[in-house]
Structures are given as C-alpha cells and as structure tokens.
C-alpha cells in the first residue's frame, strides 16, 4: 500500500512564497534581533532566573515549542528560521539576501575525521553536565547563546557551507535525530530528472539559489536528519523537481540502510539525558539538584560521573546486551555493530515521546512565568500584557498526567513497531522492545510514580 503523500508545494502560490527569499529572511532577521535582545537581557537583566526574559523565553517558551510543535510536526522546521547561523552565513556569502559573486572566509572542507554526530554527542553531553546552571542562571544562558553565535561565525569563516549546523550545533543533533519522525519532508520529486541533469545546481548553486548549505545532494537525501529546510534547492533547481510534502509519521526511521554508530550513541545519550533531567529537575531529591548545580564541587563531580556512567556506560551496555540477545534468539547473521546501529532507530520515537512527556510535566505549570517576562521583558516593573500575579491559573495536573501517559504509550507503540521493522525477525526485536519498555516505565515512575 502506498503511503499517503500530500505535496504542499503543488499550488503555485505556495511554491512562489517559498522560493521568494523575503518572507524567510524577514522572519530570520526578526528572530536574530530577538536573539541579540535575549543575550543582552541574559547578561545584563534581572539576576533571578524566573524573572529574566532570557531564561524563560529560551528554556521554557522556545525549548517547549521546539519539542511539542516544531520537531514532531515540522522536523527541522526550526532550523529554517534559526537566527544563530545567520551572521556567519552573511559574512561567508558576502551578501544579506541573494547569491553574490564572492564572500569572505576560507571555504575549507570540514575535516573527514570530524564528520558525523560525534561532536554533537559531546556538545549535548557537556550541556547536560552544566544544565542546572545553564537553565537557571541568566548570565550563563547569555554567555552560552553568545558562544553559540560566535562559534557559528568562526565555523562559517573557516569552513564551507553550514559546518556549524551540520556538525557542531548541539541542538541540531537533537533536532536531526527526531526530525526523522516528522510528517514534513523536502525531497526530489523524480530522481531520474536529477540523474539526467548534469549541472547539479542544487549542490553547486546558481544565480537563483545557493548550493545546499547543508552539503547535501538533494537527490540522495533519504531522511530528514540533515535537511535544514532552508529551501535553497527549491530555489536553485531549474526543473522545479523539489517538493515539500506531508507523509505519515515516522517514515524515515524504519529504513535499515544508512544506520550509523554515531547516531546510535546520540539516540542513547538523548534518552539517558531525559531520564537524568527528569530525576534532577522534577524529582523530590534536593541533594541531587544541589549536586547538579554546584559546579566544581565534589558533589558535582559525583553527579558528572553518574551522568557519564548512565549515558555513556550503563544505557549503551544494556542496549547492546538487548541487541545481542535478539541476535542470539533469532540466529541472525547480521554483525552486532550493524544491528546495534540499525536497532537504535527504535530509540527515536521512544526518545521524542520521553522528551515531550518531560516537557509537558514542567512547562504547563510554568506558563505564567512566560506571560510575566513577556509583559516585563527588561525586568523594570512594566506590565505590557496585563499580567497579574494574582491570576488564578487552571489546575492542569490531571490533564498533564494523562497527557504524559498517553504520549509515553504512543512512544512505546512507535518504538516497538520500529524495533520489529528494523530487526531481521520479530524474535530479534523482543529484547530491544524489553529495553524500551523498561526505559519507558522508568521514566513513567519518575514522572507520575
């Protein structure tokens, strides 16, 4: 049965709107202005995290929107708007809008040894180690955001295309991993047209559009993980052979080909991180919160060791054991390495559901803080939006618990389906399903147990 497939760019008006640079540029420029404002408020605004625009706008409003809306529905849709690579890209291209004859920068090729998601694994792990401070201290949030934009500028000036987005952005690794589940996709319509087209302008660029900033040859793109939805290929293709489409959820994760070890580790780190974050931020254990917050202290060193042990030791070892048991049960001749990488795709629906459930647990009750900082972004006592601390907020705890359970059940359903479809036989999938079930029940206990 052919999956449902709805081409969104078929109406000429939609195609023209996406080919036009202005709407996307205006949105990105507006977000860049907001980003600079956020950095300044983080560095110079109120010292209390829950009264500072930077902390609340980034770690509650944006982080929640990314996990609940952008990724599940649009994959890397946020990347198409993200302001972080913008200044570097403008310098690299020597232009603010359309293709220019030459820009600045060395244009070096990203080193082969550093390709893959390993640096993003390291970046996300690093954020995990300092998360209690980054998420609560406005100054640290400001410096982290400033550091990210500086890194993006340097990467753009030294390397070609969007090296920062593709290899360095820690959020990019997170987004790319779960973007595979999204129904929105940008793909070529007919690969034969690309094969017959010798110029490959979608990769090299032309007067109408830049060559793919993510370094993809669009005809070879099989999943959403590394497509930033920048729409340059849509602009540069002279044959109009690219389309943005809607398809069923989770289409990219069931493919067995192309599974990589770095992505498997990334998936395990994401899963482990959400378990640790839930225990630290939503659990009743004050000593754990204090340890995660007291960077450099012996307690923090213990926390860092535990974080590393769980994410880089225990979880990978248990997952490897499950994959190995599945291989033994089914008598599969697939190599353990290939099976480990392939079956790690199972962790995509499981991990996204875990992050969504975690977000539901903390974000809904914190919504009044978002309203408060948008009403008084500078922390000067303004009230632009009629916010009142005395407003009686509806109690969302019952709905929140139900939503968390439903999302985790959906994640488990998706994970079990992917496990069966990426394994040689159903029997090979059973231990991996057991691993997923244990992780999900562990998270459920942390959330509502």
């Amino acid at each position: 049965m052919t999956p449902i497939h709805l081409e969104l760019t078929q109406p000429p008006a939609v195609r023209a709107a996406l080919k036009n640079r202005w709407p996307q540029w205006l949105a990105q420029a507006g977000l860049l202005a907001g980003f600079v404002f956020t950095i300044l408020i983080g560095l110079f605004g109120p010292a209390a995290g829950n009264a500072n625009f930077a902390v609340i706008a980034v770690w509650i409003a944006w982080w929640t929107a990314l996990k609940l809306v952008f990724i599940p529905l649009g994959g890397r849709a946020w990347c198409s708007l993200c302001p972080i690579p913008l200044p570097g890209e403008w310098l690299q291209r020597g232009a603010l809008l359309g293709p220019a004859s030459r820009g600045w920068g060395l244009g070096r090729v990203w080193p082969r040894r550093l390709r893959g998601a390993w640096l993003q694994v390291a970046g996300f792990a690093l954020i995990g180690l300092f998360s209690a401070v980054i998420l609560t201290e406005p100054r640290v949030t400001g410096w982290v955001l400033l550091g990210l934009i500086a890194l993006a500028v340097v990467a753009s000036l030294v390397f070609e295309r969007r090296a920062f987005c593709r290899y360095l952005c820690p959020i990019g690794g997170f987004t790319g991993l779960y973007a595979r589940l999204a129904p929105l996709a940008l793909r070529v319509k007919d690969p034969a047209v690309c094969a017959a087209h010798t110029e490959k302008l979608c990769y090299t660029g032309c007067g109408a559009g830049y060559g793919c900033p993510w370094g993809n040859f669009p005809a070879a793109v099989r999943d959403n993980a590394y497509c930033g939805l920048c729409f340059e290929c849509l602009r540069s293709c002279p044959r109009d052979n690219l389309a943005v489409s809607l398809r069923p959820f989770g289409q990219d994760v069931v493919a067995r080909a192309g599974a990589r070890l770095d992505e498997a580790w990334l998936a395990l780190l994401m899963l482990g991180s959400v378990l640790v974050y839930t225990a630290v931020f939503l659990g009743p254990w004050g000593w754990l919160k204090t340890a995660a917050y007291s960077v450099g202290s012996p307690a923090w060193l213990g926390y860092a060791a535990g974080f590393g042990l769980i994410n880089l030791g225990l979880l990978p070892a248990l997952f490897l054991l499950a994959v190995w048991a599945g291989q033994k049960l089914s008598g599969s001749r697939r190599s353990l390495r290939a099976a480990f990488a392939g079956q790690a795709r199972t962790l995509a629906p499981l991990g996204l559901a875990a992050w969504v459930a975690f977000t539901i647990a903390f974000a809904f009750v914190k919504f009044p803080l978002v309203w408060a900082v948008f009403a008084d972004p500078l922390g000067l006592g303004w009230n632009l939006l009629g916010y009142s601390a005395d407003t009686a907020w509806p109690d969302v705890s019952a709905f929140s618990r139900l939503a968390q359970a439903a999302v985790l059940a959906l994640g488990m359903y998706g994970a079990a389906r992917v496990a069966v479809r990426t394994a040689d036989r159903v029997r090979a999938a059973l231990p991996v399903i057991g691993f997923c079930l244990a992780a999900t029940l562990g998270l459920l206990w942390l959330l509502i147990g």
Partner: protein, 152 residues
C-alpha cells in the same frame, strides 16, 4: 484468507486492543478501606528541597501540613488540591485539608527562593497511585499491539 476477511479480522483485532485500553483505564481498582484519621505532617523547606520530599496519606485523612522554612522564605503549592502556604524563615505555616482526591501530586515552592527555585519539588501520594499502574498497563499494551499489528 481473502483480503476482505483479513481486513475484517484486523479491524476486530484493533477493536479488541482499544477495548483492552479502555478497560485498563476504567476498571475499578481494589480499594483497601482505612478509617480516615487526623494527620499532622511537618515539612521543612530549605535550599531547593523539602524534607521529607515524599509524603503519603490515606484517602479521606484530614491532613494538617506544617511548613517550616529553615533558611529563606519558602512557599508550598499543592497541585491537584490548589492549596498554597508561605513560611517566613524560622516560622511555621499551617493549613488543613481533607485528602479526598486519590493519586500522586507534586508540591512546589511558590516563593522565589534562589536559582533552583522552579525545581524545588516534593510529592504527596493520597491512597494508592493507581493511575501509575493503569498507565504502565497502557504502555505494555501499546508494545503488544505494535508487535501484533506487524505480525507476518
């Protein structure tokens, strides 16, 4: 089996899974009736934690919560019951309520007390937390349904 019969059998199968899910969520849970009692629970609020962090009472208990702040001002807002109290350092704040809603509820600091204030959280369990077990059953059922749906 003809395609029509196969399709009918699958539809029946999914209906059975849905019925099982509804049963898991709605089936009456065995309750062990205990005589409601008056309970006084003292909770200390200090740097980003409550002590004790988890509190359990029986359904119907008349609970008096005593919040003692040992360092700075701390608050306590109880989700589900929508109750709030605030304690000045070294002082005790009290409130009394009847624990008439079963389940596990978070209580959180409601007065800014430091960087980790948003995550200063405790937990109250009233009776048995049957929703957790129902949710766990639903998750197990989801795994079984997925494997069943892909059987060859």
């Amino acid at each position: 089996m003809t395609p029509a019969a196969l399709s009918r059998s699958r539809a029946l199968g999914w209906a059975a899974w849905l019925a099982a899910a509804i049963l898991i969520l709605a089936l009456p849970w065995p309750a062990f009736a205990r005589t409601p009692a008056d309970r006084v629970i003292r909770v200390e609020g200090r740097r980003f934690e409550y002590a004790p962090g988890t509190v359990a009472v029986n359904m119907g208990d008349r609970v008096t919560l005593e919040l003692v702040a040992t360092d700075v001002v701390h608050g306590l807002h109880l989700d589900g019951y929508n109750l709030t109290l605030t304690a000045e350092p070294g002082q005790t704040a009290r409130l009394t309520f009847v624990a008439d809603r079963p389940g596990t509820f978070r209580f959180r600091c409601s007065t800014t007390c430091g960087p980790l204030h948003p995550f200063m959280i405790g937990q109250l369990t009233v009776g048995t937390n049957d929703f957790f077990w129902r949710a766990a059953g639903l998750i197990g059922l989801a795994a079984l349904a997925a494997v069943w749906g892909l059987r060859r």
